[in-house]
Every structure is written in structure tokens, then in C-alpha cells.
């Protein structure tokens, strides 16, 4: 080939590129009724079966078609979805002992294939979950059910063997018997990839790794809804890709942003940011036991407290020494609120006073606790309660690697602690190591740590979270093969009593009071120090209408009301 030949080829390539570039991009219809909304997820659901799925993305997708008896609204209160009303003592839905719950279906409910929704589907859902071969992930609560009775096709009577306080949170997804399969074969059901539900949309196709398309469910109970003619879930490899796509308007909804994304997206034309306080709280978990012991049970913890953190005055000093507001302003662009306790939001919300930033008082507390300034400003023990004289006031601070926000927060924490004469040193680990199981020898489970920093959150019903993290029987030990999340190894009688009270009371107000009593003990005793409450942040294009933020449910919780301008 000569030069002219090469030139000809290059020109031809250029022409071809120009031709492709000028190809018109299809425009979607943009009417009040109809229109295709594109929703970007940076995770692909592994399955849409709500009782097998573990990833949040699976629930963000199946919400368009799968519904339960009750939903949870933006205020964290239950509202009827398939049921006519939320069962209570007053309306006769809850028996005196709280063990028998009666639901009535709304009239004329149909599955997206036209079959009627009956009580038998609820019974089937229960049977599928508790079948030992079904591979259901969580069976809590469902195991406590003795039977599901069906006095009529539209009446469901759930009889619990023992009282189960979060009963309203069960059956948040109902599966159709006729369109599922043998419970023992649940992991292999075709339903898992193409569920039949009662929601406003029904699934058209799922192209692996690319997109999932939903079209309106023509049997949806609300006439004239949904407004959209399709919802396309676009699976992107990362949040970054989604950010570019929403800027160019190729997607309408972008799920799950972090605070640091906001300054980049806020100025973008046509992009709206939804930010609302969520139940997630970033906290320091303090180990109250001697970290050299392997998974000590409570009696061992009491005999062998942590040489530094075992003294409540030191824990108080740490909290008072942290400038929480500055962390929020500097690192979170003011988009979070000061952390207080586990239940800062929801129906069981318990408002406690945020801690004051008071380094002077913190230093005073450390003095009183027998920690005197050393030559380099870091304190050493001199008559401390549990530490030998001469022990340096030095603690290991750990979190997950690769999380920029947490790494920056650690830097601030080191700085704050230095000012009160406490030395934090960092030893971050990959998240599978931090969050590993007892069997894998994870240090968090076995109690080999001083302070760890991470986020967790209670569910709509906080029982499993409060009991799991703060009941003395939830301390992971060899005896219980590491079950439970009480990594602080905190044992508190008042908290234990109230956790049991909340667990066994059918009266919601009594439960609220009990939880608040637990929170009071946590705030006083500080097994966890709450830094800030994270916001739930998402973005959407301004051509979309009907967006209602609900941190208790998935973004598509009210998709039947969504429309495009």
C-alpha cells in the first residue's frame, strides 16, 4: 500500500465515523401519560426473589412488581398495601395476646397474569420461606408462625406460636402459588428471574448485565395507573458511569449517591438531588473487653475489662473530644446530622441530646481517670482503673480500606484525640476482613480490636438491630458459634430488661418506651459513639414527576404515581 492508499483509507474511516455520528438518536415520547423512564443501578440484582436476595439492588428492582400486605411510608409508619387496613387491637386485627393477626385483602386483587390473589398465596409464601430446602435467607419471625389459616379467600389469619413483636414487618412480599413452584426447589424457580406480582409494573425482559424492562401491569388495582409506559432499569458498572449518564440526560433516576457526589451534580442542568436523613448511622464501636481474650463471654468481660476503654470516663472523654459538627461540615458538605443514638428516625425514634464538643472537659475526665500527660503530650497511666502505670493512652482505630470518606474521618479523629492526649493509630482492613464471620476468625467477631468505625442501621422494626447489637446474650462467643453483633461486649441490666420488654409487648407505645430506655443506657454508657447520621441521596431528572422520598422503602415504592413531563 502506498501513501495515497493509506490516505484513502483514513478518509473512508473518517467518513464512516461522520455518518455514524450524525445518526439520529431516538426521542422518547414525553407525554403526561406514557413515556419511558430509565433508572440506573450500579449493581445487578442476583435474583428478584425477595426471600433469596441479599443485595439491595434486588429489592430496588423487584419493588416495581412485588408487593406485600403492608408498606412503610415516608414517616416510618405502616400503611395498607394489599391489606385493607393495618391490623391493630382497635380494629380487631390483633388478638389480645398479640399472637393472632388477621388481614383482609382489598377487593378484587389480581396477579399480573390475571389470577386472583388469595389467602392461599400468603400461606404458600410462609410455607416456602420455612421449607428447610428453600434456601430462604432470613426466616426470623416466619419460624415462629404456627399456621396461616384461610377462613375465606380474602381473609388471612396468621397464628404465631410465640409472640413476635415485629409481626407487621413480616409478609412484606407475597409470592403466587400458581406462578412459583415447589418450595424445596425455590432457588431454581423461573419466578426468580421473572416474578409475577401485584405491583404497578410487570416484567418484560431481563438482559443479563445490561437492562431490565418493566411494562404496566394491566391488572393493577388502581385504575388509570401507572402513568409510565415502561420503566427500564439500566445496569451500569459503577456509580461514576451513572453520574455521567444523568448529566447527559440518558437516565432519569440515579440510585444511591454519596455526599461527595453532590457538589458535582448539584450544578448540572436538569438534575435534582433528593437527600433525606436515613436510618444509617456512622459510629465508633468500642471494645469494652480485654482485646487479647478470644471472644470472651460477659462474665469474662467483667473480670477482664479493656485496660483503656473499660473505664466509662475514658469513653466519655473520647465522645466529648470529637467535633462531630466539623466532620459533617468538612467531609459531608453539611448533608448529615449529628449522631445521637441507634433510633434517631422512624416510629421508634428516641430523641436524645447530641453530645457537646468539649475538649477541656474531656481532658479533665482523663485526668480524673488516672491518665496524666506524658512527655510528648500523649497521656500515660498513673493510677488508672484498669491499666498498669506507665501504659500509653494509645488505641487502634480500624475501618474498611478504600473508603475515602472514612479515611478522612479517621484523620480528623486522630487530630481530635491528640488534642486531649489520646493517640489513635490506624490499621484499616478490606471490608470482607472487617465484616467476616466467626468461623473465618474475623477480629470484630472475636473481640480482637480497640475501636472500629463503620455504618449500620436498624430496620423499620428495630428489634433485631437493638437486640442483635446491644443485648448481653448477643455477645459473640464460642458457645453460640459467634452469633450476635454485640461487638462492644456490653452488658447492661436495664438495657437487657427493656429489650425483652420490647420483644414481648404487643403494645406499640410500650415498645417505644422500652427502646428509648435502651437508648438512654447506650448514650450514658457509650458502647457505641455515634458520629453522624447518613443521608439517603439519589438524583433524578427534572422531567420526572411524582418523586416522593421514602427512606424506609425502595425508590420505586410509589412508581405508580411517576410520570414524565
Amino acid at each position: 500500500m502506498n501513501t495515497a492508499g493509506v490516505r484513502r483509507t483514513l478518509v473512508a474511516i473518517g467518513l464512516a465515523a461522520a455518518l455514524l455520528a450524525s445518526w439520529p438518536v431516538p426521542a422518547f415520547p414525553q407525554a403526561k401519560r406514557g413515556g419511558v423512564l430509565t433508572f440506573a443501578l450500579y449493581q445487578e440484582p442476583e435474583t428478584l426473589n425477595p426471600y433469596i436476595a441479599t443485595q439491595t439492588a434486588s429489592f430496588e428492582v423487584n419493588v416495581f412488581t412485588i408487593e406485600g400486605l403492608l408498606g412503610v411510608g415516608p414517616d416510618g409508619e405502616y400503611f395498607p398495601l394489599l391489606a385493607k387496613e393495618v391490623p391493630s387491637r382497635q380494629n380487631g386485627g390483633v388478638s389480645g395476646d398479640g399472637k393472632t393477626i388477621t388481614y383482609h385483602f382489598k377487593d378484587g386483587l389480581k396477579w399480573s397474569d390475571g389470577q386472583p390473589v388469595t389467602c392461599d398465596d400468603v400461606r404458600f409464601t410462609w410455607q416456602a420461606i420455612v421449607d428447610p430446602k428453600s434456601g430462604a435467607s432470613g426466616t426470623t419471625g416466619y419460624r415462629d408462625i404456627e399456621t396461616v389459616d384461610c377462613p375465606s379467600p380474602s381473609t388471612v389469619v396468621v397464628r404465631y406460636k410465640t409472640f413476635y413483636a415485629p409481626f407487621l414487618s413480616r409478609f412484606d412480599a407475597i409470592m403466587p402459588r400458581h406462578a412459583a413452584g415447589d418450595p424445596a426447589e425455590m432457588p431454581r424457580w423461573a419466578y426468580n428471574r421473572k416474578p409475577v406480582g401485584t405491583g404497578p409494573f410487570t416484567m418484560l425482559e431481563w438482559v443479563s448485565g445490561d437492562h431490565i424492562t418493566f411494562i404496566p401491569n394491566r391488572y393493577y388495582r388502581e385504575a388509570g395507573k401507572p402513568y409510565l409506559s415502561a420503566v427500564i432499569i439500566r445496569i451500569t458498572p459503577s456509580r461514576e458511569v451513572g453520574k455521567q449518564l444523568i448529566k447527559t440526560g440518558e437516565i432519569d433516576v440515579l440510585w444511591d449517591l454519596v455526599e461527595s457526589d453532590v457538589p458535582e451534580l448539584q450544578p448540572a442542568a436538569g438534575v435534582k438531588i433528593s437527600s433525606a436523613p436515613s436510618s444509617f448511622a456512622e459510629r465508633l464501636v468500642l471494645n469494652l473487653a480485654d482485646p487479647t481474650l478470644d471472644g470472651p463471654p460477659l462474665d469474662q468481660v467483667e473480670k477482664n475489662p479493656h485496660p483503656i476503654l473499660g473505664d466509662p470516663r475514658v469513653r466519655e472523654a473520647i465522645e466529648l473530644g470529637i467535633n462531630k459538627q466539623e466532620i459533617i461540615d468538612k467531609l459531608l458538605f453539611g448533608l448529615a446530622t449529628i449522631g445521637t443514638n441507634e433510633l434517631h428516625i422512624g416510629w421508634a425514634r428516641c430523641a436524645t441530646k447530641p453530645s457537646e464538643y468539649d475538649p477541656a472537659r474531656a481532658r479533665q475526665l482523663l485526668e480524673q481517670a488516672g491518665w496524666k500527660p506524658g512527655s510528648d503530650g500523649i497521656r500515660v497511666a498513673q493510677g488508672a482503673r484498669y491499666a498498669k502505670d506507665g501504659t500509653r493512652l494509645r488505641l487502634k482505630l480500624q475501618t474498611t480500606t478504600g473508603n475515602k470518606l472514612r479515611e478522612q474521618a479517621e484523620q480528623l479523629l486522630i487530630d481530635y484525640m491528640k488534642q486531649i492526649g489520646l493517640e489513635f493509630y490506624i490499621e484499616n482492613v478490606p471490608s470482607p476482613v472487617l465484616f467476616g464471620s466467626w468461623a473465618s476468625g474475623a477480629f470484630r467477631k472475636h473481640g480482637h480490636f480497640d475501636v472500629v468505625l463503620y455504618t449500620t442501621n436498624p430496620d423499620v422494626d428495630p428489634q433485631s438491630q437493638v437486640e442483635g447489637y446491644f443485648a448481653s446474650w448477643s455477645i459473640p462467643t464460642a458457645a453460640n458459634s459467634g452469633a450476635g453483633f454485640n461487638y462492644a461486649r456490653w452488658g447492661n441490666k436495664t438495657a437487657d430488661e427493656n429489650i425483652n420488654l420490647a420483644k414481648n409487648s404487643p403494645d406499640i407505645n410500650a415498645r417505644k418506651k422500652a427502646y428509648c430506655a435502651v437508648m438512654g443506657e447506650i448514650v450514658k454508657d457509650r458502647p457505641h459513639i455515634y458520629l453522624y447520621d447518613r443521608s439517603s441521596i439519589h438524583a433524578y431528572r427534572d422531567r420526572m414527576q411524582g418523586w416522593v422520598t421514602n427512606v424506609w422503602d425502595r425508590l420505586g415504592w410509589n412508581a405508580e404515581d411517576w410520570s414524565l413531563r
Binding site: A17, A21, V25, E46, S137, G138, D210, T236, Q244, T248
Partner: protein, 324 residues
């Protein structure tokens, strides 16, 4: 020849077995594991965890798990994905055509660009074009591919707009426009950036090999002889030259071909391409043993096979090479 191929195939069996053992052990060294997804759910009781672990066969000792996997494989059963619970072959079957499509087009474009350019710059050694080609090839070879891909997206997707519709000049990801009926032009439109990124990076390598190998061949006596006896120049280059210069290029190509199956992790991730590269990454994050083992083993088997294919091709290209 037949005996040689057979011997190589037989040798491949213990090799692949060894690979499977090492990979299996390495995967199980990764902290976390597939059960990690359940560990921090406060709604999961210890009994639930044990039951699931048992269902997935993860509670058995490691050697038992390996033998189970191997025994199933011998019977042609690749098992089920631990995350999606679907058969591994179905998962791969969903993604493989997309990867073959992307990588096939990219390889074709690469060769169509690289070989003529390489030959040309060898024939016209030290001409201006040769210097340009050599420099560009060197740059293409050195640019980190993930950085280059991002630059392509920023320039051709975010900055440049189609003057007619105002839409981005080229799509920043995906295989086609969602919600639109099949259109060949739309498909090609989506191919431009990812193929461009792969072609630039790979063509650089191929150009340099073609050029070097061609230069060596052009200096040989038989080329001079061919010219002396009056053979037309194109015939000298394309028949006498290229055929002899092709051997190293074929080697590189053979080593690259397993990527037709394995996909390009960076390219697919950057351009939201639903192919094998992304399937691999996603499975790695989920520590999906069954799926990871399958992808790695098939890639390993293809690498072995294509190496053999390369050796056989040598013999075809160069009659002096004999295998006995």
C-alpha cells in the same frame, strides 16, 4: 503432526488439573467468601447461616469441596452460581455472545489497521510516515487503557455533541439504545468507542511486531532474488515477505484470542458492555466460586488450545518447522 497434536493435548490434561487446583485454593484464600453477604444481616439467625452454608456445600472441608467440584465437572456439570443460583453455563451463555461480538470486531479492526501500517512503515523505513507510525504506536502501547477510555468518553460522549440532534456524539456505554427496535446503525454507533479504545491499544503492539519482523525479512536474500527476477513489488511484499514475517504476529494473535472468551475487563467496565469481563469482575466481588472457577478454567483451556494452534500454524507458514 497428528501424533504431536495428540501428545500436546494429553499433556494439557495434568496442566489444566494443576491450574484448577491452584485457582481453587487461591479463591478460597480470599477473605469473606460467599457467606459474607448474609453475615451482617441482623435478621439472619445462626441456624439460618448454618442451613444456607450446608445447602451451598460450603460447610464441607476444602478438599471435599474440591473433589465434589472436579467430579461434577468430569460429568460435564459446571454447577450453579452461588449468587444467582442459575446454572453457570446459563450465566456464561448470556454474556459470551456479547464479548465475542465486541472482541471479534475489535480484533478484526486491530489487524486491518496494524498489519498494513506495520508493513508500510517497514517498507518505507525511516520515512516521515514511519516515524509518525512508530511514535504513535509507542504512545498507543504506553497509554494506560483505562485512562484512554475515560478520555474517549469525556471527549466523544460528554464534550462533543451531534450538531443535528444535540445528543452526545457517541454513546458512552451499552450495546444499543434501550427501548428501540434492532438497528444495525445503532449497534455500530455503540461499537465505535469501545472498539476504538481496544484497537488503538492493541494495534500499537501488532504494528510494532509486524514492522520489526517485516524489516528482518526484507533484508533476506530471497527477497532480493525475487526482486532481481522481476517479481512485481506488491507480490514480493505480500507473498514472499508477509508470509515469512507472519510467524511472530500469529503468536501474539494466538495468545490474544482467549480474550474473545474472557473479554476485556477494563473496556467492558468502562463502556457498560454486558460481557464476560464484567461477569468475571462481578463474580469476583461476590466471591462466586462456581462461576469464577468456570470462567478461569475455560480461559486457561483456551489459552492452552490456542498455543497449540499457534504452533501448528507455524508449521503451515514455515515448512522448515517440523514437529515429530
Amino acid at each position: 503432526m497428528g501424533a504431536y497434536v495428540l501428545r500436546r493435548l494429553v499433556q494439557a490434561v495434568p496442566l489444566l488439573w494443576l491450574i484448577s487446583l491452584v485457582v481453587f485454593l487461591l479463591l478460597h484464600v480470599i477473605p469473606g467468601g460467599p457467606m459474607a453477604a448474609y453475615e451482617n444481616n441482623p435478621d439472619m439467625t445462626a441456624e439460618d447461616l448454618h442451613r444456607l452454608e450446608h445447602d451451598l456445600g460450603l460447610d464441607a472441608p476444602l478438599h471435599v469441596q474440591y473433589v465434589r467440584w472436579l467430579a461434577a465437572l468430569v460429568h460435564g456439570d459446571w454447577g450453579y452460581s452461588l449468587a444467582s443460583k442459575r446454572p453457570v453455563l446459563v450465566e456464561i451463555g448470556d454474556r459470551l455472545p456479547n464479548t465475542v461480538y465486541l472482541m471479534g470486531v475489535a480484533t478484526l479492526v486491530t489487524l486491518l489497521l496494524a498489519i498494513p501500517i506495520g508493513i508500510f512503515s517497514a517498507v518505507r523505513q525511516y520515512s516521515t510516515l514511519d516515524h509518525v507510525v512508530t511514535t504513535v504506536a509507542f504512545m498507543g502501547h504506553s497509554i494506560p487503557i483505562f485512562w484512554f477510555g475515560l478520555i474517549l468518553i469525556i471527549v466523544f460522549h460528554v464534550m462533543l455533541r451531534n450538531p443535528l440532534s444535540g445528543a452526545p456524539l457517541f454513546p458512552g456505554g451499552g450495546m444499543y439504545t434501550l427501548g428501540m427496535p434492532f438497528s444495525l446503525l445503532d449497534r455500530l454507533h455503540h461499537l465505535v468507542l469501545p472498539v476504538g479504545m481496544l484497537a488503538v491499544a492493541n494495534a500499537a503492539t501488532y504494528t510494532r511486531y509486524t514492522r520489526a519482523s517485516m524489516l528482518e525479512v526484507i533484508g533476506q536474500d530471497y527477497i532480493r532474488t525475487a526482486r532481481a527476477k522481476g517479481t512485481p513489488e506488491p507480490l514480493v511484499i505480500w507473498k514472499h515477505g508477509l508470509k515469512n514475517a507472519a510467524t511472530p504476529v500469529v503468536t501474539i494473535l494466538a495468545l490474544d484470542l482467549p480474550a474473545l472468551f474472557a473479554g476485556a475487563v477494563f473496556t467492558e467496565t468502562m463502556f457498560s458492555w454486558p460481557g464476560m469481563g464484567r461477569l468475571f469482575i462481578e463474580s469476583a466481588f461476590r466471591v462466586d466460586y462456581a462461576l469464577l472457577m468456570a470462567i478461569i478454567m475455560v480461559t486457561a483451556a483456551l489459552t492452552v488450545a490456542f498455543n497449540l494452534l499457534a504452533d501448528v500454524t507455524y508449521a503451515v507458514l514455515d515448512p522448515r518447522i517440523r514437529y515429530g
